[in-house]
Symmetry: C2
Subunit: 293 residues, 2 copies
């Protein structure tokens, strides 16, 4: 996905947000924001992938803040909230006696709802205390774009690119069902902390490594996946996958730049740039399969 | 008021907003936003007045858009809405038989409520259709900071620096009462279109020139008042005033940089930067008198 003019102020909003998470020092806040503006000024070109610009901006701001992980506390809170909501989600997926295909659809829906766990995007923060109600409502509404039937036929060898902390706990419901159906899973998380994205720390903290067949990282703290920094194993895994599942907007922004497939984008359209790139409105829950050849 | 780190993304939000008001051309939108970023990068320094930076950014963006007045349609809408609300406001100010001091307080309150007419500031847009209800509620709540009693003693020779379109119609209720009390009014509007601020066009369209004793402009399309571009008559008027009344955030941002007084700031604290500079929360309606010597 290419940069949209509306991405600039949203990106700077997030820079200010993470700078405030990191420090109360007014001079350092100025410096962080000015660094974000300068880097944005340097990297913003029409037609350039949005993820490339946001990666450059956030990495530089982290450097100036002298903080490897400004979102650390929020990520803990996000994981904690997901722990609380997990039994509710699990129960809703498995209740009644339904087909494997319906089970899979429900698990995907639960994981997409998990994608509403995203701190710092303008207008779509969901406070933990209202997540419970949001979850129930969204589960009843179902998916706005639902390609889970087609995805269901492609679960032999799945590469699953995770997104945020918290959310990754709900992804494990999908993992369980893919395993139950006899499929293999390669889980991919960020190579180092960026925003509130899941890393190996979260995977090990929750024993998620034991639920999947293979564990890889994106090789860096890029937003989404930066192919220039990704390990060869990841390219091979993408090549050999029966299905790539990409969670969240940042992975969509970056993976949609490459000719990968079949790939299913599981996300909530939280911003206008991503929504319009997908030809959808904001606020949609989607499991959209592309490059299905 | 000095630039606050949180001003940067808000300013860019407004740049994007006005660019979209002006054009649908995606390339021009990119160019406008990139110009805003570049100008922000060039001008943002800690300790610099916020108004200086926002003026530079908006003026450059207008130039690139090739549009002298992107807010023209919105300003018309704003005036139209104020026309609709005017009789409601007028009635509430004059109802019952109250003292002149109470009449003045009510008129100030009505004009501060008029300050909620502000399109484009993140989080505080008030849709015309809900203004009516908002007005009634706010009128009943009164002013959060109310220095109208002291102001009432200083109405001999008032310089009134207006803010937005729409709002300026409600300001005329204050003018009427100052005139009734025997005071003189010098009204100051922008010298050329900037944002949704009132200019001479609005003054003449509504015959407001006939309600005041003297009419001046800020001499330019700066945000608020830029002393480097203001005419000598304005400095003289400020020097000779028994009271300066400054409407809205942009005038506060710029006039608070100079040692003027006595000066009363009439505004709603719509953003955190202005609110915290005043030692208040956002969402307050204030008539705050300073430099009262």
């Amino acid at each position: 996905m290419k940069i949209n003019p509306r991405c600039a102020h949203c990106l700077l909003t997030r820079v200010h947000y993470e700078a405030r998470l990191s420090t109360d020092d007014e001079q350092l806040l100025h410096k962080a924001v000015m660094t974000g503006i300068d880097e944005l000024n340097r990297t913003y070109k029409p037609g350039k992938p949005a993820g490339e610009i946001s990666t450059a901006v956030h990495q530089k701001v982290y450097e100036v803040l002298g903080d490897e992980d400004p979102y650390l506390e929020l990520k803990k809170l996000s994981n904690k909230t997901a722990e609380d909501i997990f039994p509710v989600a699990q129960k809703r997926v498995y209740e009644d006696d339904v087909s494997d295909k319906e089970l899979f659809r429900r698990s995907v829906l639960a994981s997409v709802i998990g994608n509403t766990f995203d701190f710092g995007v303008v207008g779509f923060d969901v406070a933990p205390e209202i997540f419970d109600e949001t979850f129930k409502q969204t589960f009843e509404n179902g998916l706005d774009v639902d390609d889970t039937s087609s995805m269901f036929e492609m679960l032999d060898n799945v590469v699953y690119v995770a997104d945020n902390c918290g959310e990754i706990l709900l992804d494990t419901i999908v993992f369980d069902i893919i395993k139950k159906l006899g499929g293999k899973i390669t889980l991919v998380v960020r190579g180092a902390p960026i925003l509130n994205d899941a890393t190996l720390d979260d995977v090990y903290d929750y024993g998620i490594d034991k639920k999947v067949d293979r564990l890889l990282t994106t090789g860096s703290n890029a937003i989404g996946v930066n192919f220039e920094e990704a390990p060869n194993e990841l390219f091979e895994a993408f090549d050999n996958a029966s299905l790539i599942i990409s969670k969240g907007m940042a992975n969509y922004e970056t993976l949609s730049e490459y000719n990968l497939g079949p790939i299913a984008y599981l996300l909530k359209t939280k911003c206008e740039s991503v929504a319009s790139d997908l030809g959808l409105d904001t606020g949609c829950t989607i499991a959209k399969l592309v490059n299905e050849q």
